[in-house]
């Protein structure tokens, strides 16, 4: 039987590896953080694909550069301020 310390060794490594990247989550994440990541992923995707960028530019009736700029700006607090921390969350 493996030692208690070693038991989750490989998985702990995986977890550590994953946690180095933005956008990854964990079991204690809340909805706000998760959705914020989705928003940012989405906008980065739309911004960096010219076709999508053009589509959004047409819909919003802006220039493509402006659209791009807007999309980047919308990545700052895309869902508004984070919710107040509930003291019960930590319990």
């Amino acid at each position: 039987m493996a030692l208690p310390g070693e038991r989750f060794h490989v998985l702990a490594q995986l977890e550590h590896l994953q946690s180095k990247y933005t956008g990854t989550g964990h079991a204690d994440m809340n909805r706000h953080e998760w959705v914020v990541n989705q928003h940012r992923d989405t906008r980065a995707f739309q911004m960096s694909h010219p076709g999508l960028n053009t589509m959004i530019a047409v819909v919003e009736n802006e220039s493509r550069a402006r659209t791009r700029f807007n999309l980047i700006n919308r990545m700052i607090q895309p869902c508004g301020p984070p919710p107040e921390k509930n003291p019960l969350d930590d319990v």
Binding site: L11, T24, G25, A27, T42, R43, C79, P83
Partner: protein, 1318 residues
């Protein structure tokens, strides 16, 4: 038993030594015995010398006295520089020493005991122990009145000045004393200083020394001053070792006569304090005849006085405070007993003075002193060594004490009775306990294997140090103390009421507990200790932390592991403490700097890391102001380590930040030591940072360049070395930066001699490769003159440097071959190509490299022609050097230039050198092989001769000769093929075949290797003996357990199976299959791999069915490794013979109701899918039912393997439209996420990853979404792992698939861009 055991151990040692001697003697005989052999029938003559030439020419090499074992204690200052003796001639001395050692107490396990760091260190490293951990310093950045106890910069500098002046005065006095100008009476009346008394003692000593010319030449300039300097006053570890503390051994531990006897000749070169101190009181006022002898009788009464002798050292060490005698001396000479009593502190009234206790132990020291308000109840401080010895004694006595009747009765079931011993029984009364002195690990101490303890009898042996001292701290969660830890951790042994402690005391206790856990605990304990101490670092504060950690690091009984852990603690808390660390920077440096010159690489790295973190935490200003005083410290050791530390600081904070400071230091007018250290810092920076110095190269060279014209020789030397390091670091760029130093350097080589010259040459050697061709050629000519002159230098270091510089000069473009050929080569060969150069390993290497480099320039013929005759030299080492040189030259330049005559000489020499070799290494073989293969077809003429030699040697009596012959065949087989000597090779093959009965496995392995080489070059069809004869002969050899035989044999069999399988009957192959199964168990991976590959070849040759049947049967065996290898083999077979030939059979095998077989089948499937990759698309639908079945199995391991197979399968079928099957499989894989086994979870994550690839991330995301927000953490956790993999692997693909989250009053969660429709 123990007695015979010891005798046996000694006997073994003696045999080993005798073997070495015999080997060495053989070498000797060969070297010089040739001329003096007596011909048969001629008149003989007596040997002039028995021990080689020792008696004849070099009498002084003979030891004419038995060493007293004191050599280790000689101070290096007084040590004469001894030329290293030839190892061979030192043998008799060794022998004497061995006998001397075995006569006295020897510990046969001494080699196995773990050495402390202090024990393995050199004298120079030991000086670290003499530094004191200085008081805290003022933190200039804190805006408050500094604590007056802390020293500020000015104070430290004043102290430094004082040290320097004191050193000067001491030196001056010593010089004058040496010159005889100083007399006791002529001493001018000075103010009565503390050390005047001792100074005047110096002439006395010296007088004594000069009065006895037999004393020899040992310089004794330190004599009177040893006790003056604070550093020297600290007792060093070595001195403690002298304390003989064996209570029972006291009788024969009488101090050896020479220490105390009145003959002046018996003086040891090192004066320790015992000898000196009394003289101050006794000799000066009494003005007795200066001589050591007079003290001895007076000792008994002197002892009391010693306590009053004002010690010059600032810190009063234990030695000054206590009567300087060890208890067993007291036991041996009873008249000392009186002197012992007064020094007993009354606070230990209950203790009976057992012999082993040092009375001196009553003096509190170190951290112990802080907490010693009330003496600990059970604690008697001893030196660690005493404690250790006492503990062993006690433990052995306890274990070996006779069993009492009661104990026996409790052990045996009822019904036993006591018999009378037979009449003729004589009990064994001579228990020699020496063998029992095994360093048994402390009960509960960490690490290593523990023999399960015998059950305790009456609790004896449970109590730490032999029941004498309880080493278990009161807090039962803490690990027990080691005897050495007593002085640091003794407080933990006391029971205290936590509520009554002050906050500081409580903190101190907590820190102590954490440190003890880290030092002695099990890994989990260590981890928690480290975590807690890190978390609370700022709460505890820097002072309390370092006050406990640093003394531990200075402990003389520190081991590597402990040091590593303590250093780790410092590293962690540095991060936390940050600028709080400032007042302690110097303390930390004192402890950490020695790591920078440790012999252990990792210790050096750790040291660098700490210092660089320290620099980042404390900031440049603090670092500089802290280390500045050490830059011109009188002690070279301190300056050396400081320079290295500064280099680390530079690499941490950037070179530009340090440049102004370096500039100031290197231009210091006040002391040359400062300039020396400054330049050394630059050198160390270059070594440490490499090409990172390039941007600042000009500035750095500007800073150091004035050192070349310094008035101090040492500064000039270090400057040259510094330039060499800078040039090496910046190569091949940056010659412009060195423009300003070229002239002084070239001028310097004309002006200097000896060490200085060597340094200058080194600098030039590294500068020349930086220059362009024209300059290089000019400067080379300049320096060559000097180099050629120095070819003749007898100095070894100079030789190495000269060789290196010659190599560097010759490597540059600008040097013409003709110049080297005419000017350099004659003297080069005269000076260097001799036997002596081959003896030293480093010279050997350097000479080979340099010669090869020159050959690049002047052509191989020139060089080879000069040395080829030396292949027949009488000295084997020299022949080896020649061979290696020729091999390297030929390997680089080919053999096309070599003419017929040289070729003949070369082969002749090769054969001679090959036949004469006695040492076992590959130099000769490699050389032979390389040269022959480069000669190619031209070697044809010599093949018969070579083969003749080989054949003859294959038949030799000596196994080694046979082995070398066989190895040589393997090397030259390709050449023989090239020369179309197939007939000859066939003949060789037959001969080798005949030798397959060889009994020495090493030789047999080589023979098989040779056969393999022949087989490979002439092909299976032409091979003689024919394959059908050869292979059956190999089958039994496969059973051989020797790795070399196995490896070569399996390779040969594999080659035959691959290319010549048709020559052998299927039945034979089957037989081999059975043998191969055994090889799957081999330890060596290459053998297992070769065996598995061979399975593949055989299966291809005779069809998979029979092989598979064998393999499947093998799945039933118990041994796990065998089964694993079998599954791999099955997978290989199915890969080579296409899966459809194998799959039905193994799927059928899955129906065997036996878990091992089923697991094996699944594992084989898993490996198979891994190997066959996309071929799996044709088989996926066939195996899905089987996999589904396996995934529903109760057994966890079974499912684990199945999940693994699914993962490989999924990856294999990517892009082939098997989504339906995969989805089906995923449904069965998914529930495994709730398992506890980490292996299973790992496989499950892997399988999901495979599904992400083949099934698409969105499908997997949909599975995940079910559980990401599940209320149970156990469900959420594994799914987040998979989700994270999805994010990392295909974030883009997911954005269209995320669920729509409704807005809340404060937050907008809907991604409206996704709703846009055009």
């Amino acid at each position: 038993m123990s007695r015979s055991g010891e005798a046996y151990a000694q006997e073994l040692n003696r045999k080993r030594a005798a073997n070495q001697r015999a080997a060495a003697d053989e070498d000797n005989d060969e070297n010089k015995g040739n001329g003096s052999k007596v011909a048969f029938g001629a008149a003989g003559n007596f040997d002039t010398d028995v021990y080689g030439s020792v008696r004849g020419e070099s009498r002084e090499m003979y030891m004419d006295s038995i060493g007293t074992g004191e050599e280790d204690d000689v101070d290096e200052d007084s040590m004469p520089t001894v030329q290293k003796k030839n190892v061979n001639y030192a043998q008799p001395h060794k022998f004497i020493e061995e006998v001397a050692a075995s006569a006295e107490d020897t510990d046969p396990f001494a080699d196995t005991r773990k050495q402390t760091i202090a024990e393995r260190q050199s004298k120079y490293h030991e000086r670290a122990m003499r530094r004191q951990i200085s008081p805290d310093r003022v933190d200039a950045f804190v805006d408050q009145t500094p604590d007056h106890r802390n020293r500020d910069y000015a104070e430290v500098m004043r102290d430094q000045m004082y040290q320097v002046e004191k050193g000067q005065v001491e030196r001056e006095m010593a010089d004058r004393a040496k010159a005889g100008e100083l007399h006791v009476t002529g001493q001018p009346e000075k103010k009565k200083g503390r050390w005047d008394a001792q100074e005047s003692a110096a002439p006395d000593n010296l007088g004594a020394a000069s009065a006895t010319p037999s004393q020899g030449s040992a310089p004794r300039k330190r004599l009177g001053f040893a006790s003056l300097s604070a550093e020297a006053a600290t007792p060093r570890a070595a001195r403690w070792d002298e304390t003989p503390a064996h209570p029972t051994g006291a009788a024969d531990a009488t101090p050896s006569v020479d220490k105390w006897s009145s003959t002046p000749a018996a003086q040891t070169p090192r004066r320790n304090r015992w000898d000196e101190t009394p003289k101050d009181g006794g000799l000066n006022d009494g003005s007795m005849t200066p001589g050591w002898g007079m003290e001895t009788p007076a000792r008994g009464s002197d002892d009391v006085k010693i306590e009053d002798t004002p010690s010059a050292s600032k810190r009063r060490s234990r030695w000054d405070l206590t009567p300087s005698q060890t208890p067993n001396v007291a036991a041996a000479t009873p008249l000392h007993a009186g002197a012992q009593t007064p020094s007993f502190t009354p606070s230990h009234p209950s203790q009976t003075p057992i012999g082993a206790m040092t009375p001196g132990g009553a003096t509190p020291i170190g951290t112990a002193a802080m907490g010693m308000k009330t003496p600990a109840p059970h604690m008697i401080p001893m030196t660690p060594e005493q404690m250790q010895i006492y503990r062993w004694e006690k433990e052995i006595d306890d274990r070996n004490r006779p069993l009492t009747d009661e104990e026996l009765e409790s052990l045996f079931p009822p019904g036993y009775k006591v018999l009378v011993p037979p009449m003729n029984y004589i009990p064994l009364r001579t228990p020699s306990r020496k063998l029992m002195a095994t360093p048994t690990p402390m009960g509960g101490a960490a690490g290593g294997f523990f023999m399960p303890g015998t059950p305790d009898r009456d609790g004896v042996g449970e109590k730490g140090v032999g029941g004498l001292v309880d080493t278990q701290p009161k807090n039962a969660e803490l690990p027990p103390l080691k005897p050495d830890d007593m002085q640091y951790f003794d407080k933990l042994l006391m029971d205290v009421d936590e509520s009554q402690l002050t906050k500081e005391e409580k903190n101190e206790r907590e820190i102590m507990e954490h440190l003890l856990k880290i030092k002695n605990g099990t890994p989990p304990m260590r981890k928690s200790g480290l975590r807690k101490i890190t978390e609370n670092a700022r709460k505890y504060g820097a002072g309390p932390l370092f006050n406990q950690i640093l003394p531990l690091l200075m402990s003389p009984s520190l081991e590597d592991q402990e040091r590593h852990l303590m250093v780790k603690v410092i590293d962690r808390i540095l991060y936390k403490l940050d600028d709080l660390v400032r007042p302690y920077v110097h303390k930390i440096l004192v402890v950490i700097e020695p790591l920078l010159i440790d012999e252990d690489y990792y210790a050096r790295v750790e040291g660098r890391e700490i210092i660089s973190n320290l620099a980042k935490a404390a900031g440049l200003a603090t670092m500089i102001s802290t280390m500045r005083p050490d830059i011109d410290n009188v002690d070279e050791y301190v300056r050396n380590t400081t320079a290295r530390a500064f280099a680390v600081v530079a690499s941490a904070l950037g070179i530009p930040a340090l440049l102004p400071f370096l500039k100031a230091v290197c231009k210091s007018k006040k002391s040359w030591q400062a300039r020396h250290t400054g330049i050394k810092i630059v050198q160390q920076m270059a070594i440490l940072m490499g090409c990172a110095v390039l941007p600042h190269l000009t500035a750095l060279v500007e800073i150091v360049k004035d050192g070349l014209d310094d008035e101090q020789q040492k500064v000039r030397t270090i400057t040259a070395l510094c330039l060499a390091a800078l040039a090496e670091a910046s190569a091949p760029y940056g010659i412009e930066a060195f423009d300003s130093v070229l002239k002084p350097l070239w001028k310097g080589i004309r002006m200097h001699r000896g060490k200085g010259l060597a340094a200058f040459l080194k600098a030039i050697g590294y500068l020349i490769p930086l220059m362009d061709a024209e300059y290089a050629s000019y400067y080379t000519r300049e320096v060559m003159l000097i180099l050629i002159r120095e070819f003749a230098s007898p100095d070894e270091e100079m030789k190495k440097i000269v060789l290196k510089v010659v190599k560097q000069c010759c490597a540059t473009d600008g040097v013409e071959p003709s110049y080297i050929r005419d000017e350099v080569l004659p003297s080069f060969f005269k000076a260097f190509w001799n036997q002596r150069m081959a003896m030293d390993r480093r010279n050997y290497r350097q000479l080979v490299d340099t010669t090869v480099e020159i050959a690049q320039k002047v052509g191989c013929v020139e060089m080879i022609a000069r040395i080829v005759d030396d292949l027949k030299d009488e000295n084997e080492q020299y022949r080896k050097m020649v061979m290696e040189t020729i091999e390297n030259i030929v390997a680089l330049q080919g053999a096309t230039d070599i003419d017929a005559r040289l070729e003949e000489q070369l082969i002749d020499g090769l054969l001679y050198a090959f036949q004469e070799q006695t040492q076992e290494d590959s130099v000769m073989l490699d050389g032979f092989g390389t040269i022959c293969s480069n000669l190619g077809r031209r070697a044809k003429a010599y093949i018969p001769q070579i083969c003749g030699t080989i054949l003859w040697r294959l038949n030799n009596k000596s196994a080694k000769v046979r082995q070398q012959a066989a190895d040589l065949i393997a090397r030259i087989a390709p050449v023989m093929h090239m020369c179309e000597e197939e007939k000859m090779m066939g003949h060789m093959g037959v001969v080798l075949y005949e030798y397959l009965g060889e009994e020495y496995p090493e030789v047999l392995g080589s023979i098989l290797g040779a056969l393999k080489a022949i087989c490979n070059v002439i092909g299976m069809t032409k091979m003689t003996p024919p394959i059908k004869d050869l292979l059956p002969r190999l089958t039994p050899i496969l059973k051989n357990r020797h790795e070399k035989v196995q490896e070569n044999c399996i390779d040969l069999v594999g080659a035959i199976a691959d290319r010549g399988s048709e020559f052998v009957s299927a039945r034979e192959w089957m037989r081999i299959c059975f043998e191969l199964l055994e090889l799957l168990k081999a330890h060596k991976k290459s053998i297992r791999r070769a065996a598995i590959n061979t399975f593949g070849f055989i299966a291809k040759a005779i069809g998979p069915h029979d092989v598979l049947a064998t393999l499947l049967n093998n799945l039933k065996v118990q041994e796990r490794q065998l089964r694993v290898c079998t599954t791999v083999a099955i997978a290989i077979v199915s890969e080579t013979c296409a899966p459809f030939t194998v799959l039905p059979a193994i799927m059928n095998e899955y129906r065997v109701p036996e878990i091992n077989v089923q697991n094996g089948v699944l594992k084989a499937l898993s490996f198979m899918f891994e190997y066959i990759g996309e071929m799996a698309k044709d088989y996926i639908y066939a195996v899905v039912p089987l996999l589904i079945d396996a995934l529903m199995e109760r057994d966890q391991v079974h499912r684990q393997i199945a999940v693994d197979a699914v993962a490989h399968l999924a990856i294999g079928v990517y892009g082939f439209g098997c989504e339906d099957a995969l989805m089906h499989l995923l449904n069965y894989v998914w529930p495994n996420m709730l398992e506890n086994s980490p292996h299973l979870i790992q496989r499950w994550v892997f399988a999901c990853e495979g599904m992400r690839v083949s099934l698409g991330p969105i499908k997997v995301l949909q599975y995940c979404l079910q559980a990401l927000w599940h209320p149970a953490r156990k469900v959420r956790e594994p799914v987040w792992k998979v989700f994270n993999n999805l994010i990392l692997g295909s974030a883009d693909a997911l954005i269209a698939a995320y669920p729509r989250v409704e807005n809340t009053p404060t937050n907008q969660y809907i991604r409206y861009e996704l709703d846009y429709v055009l």
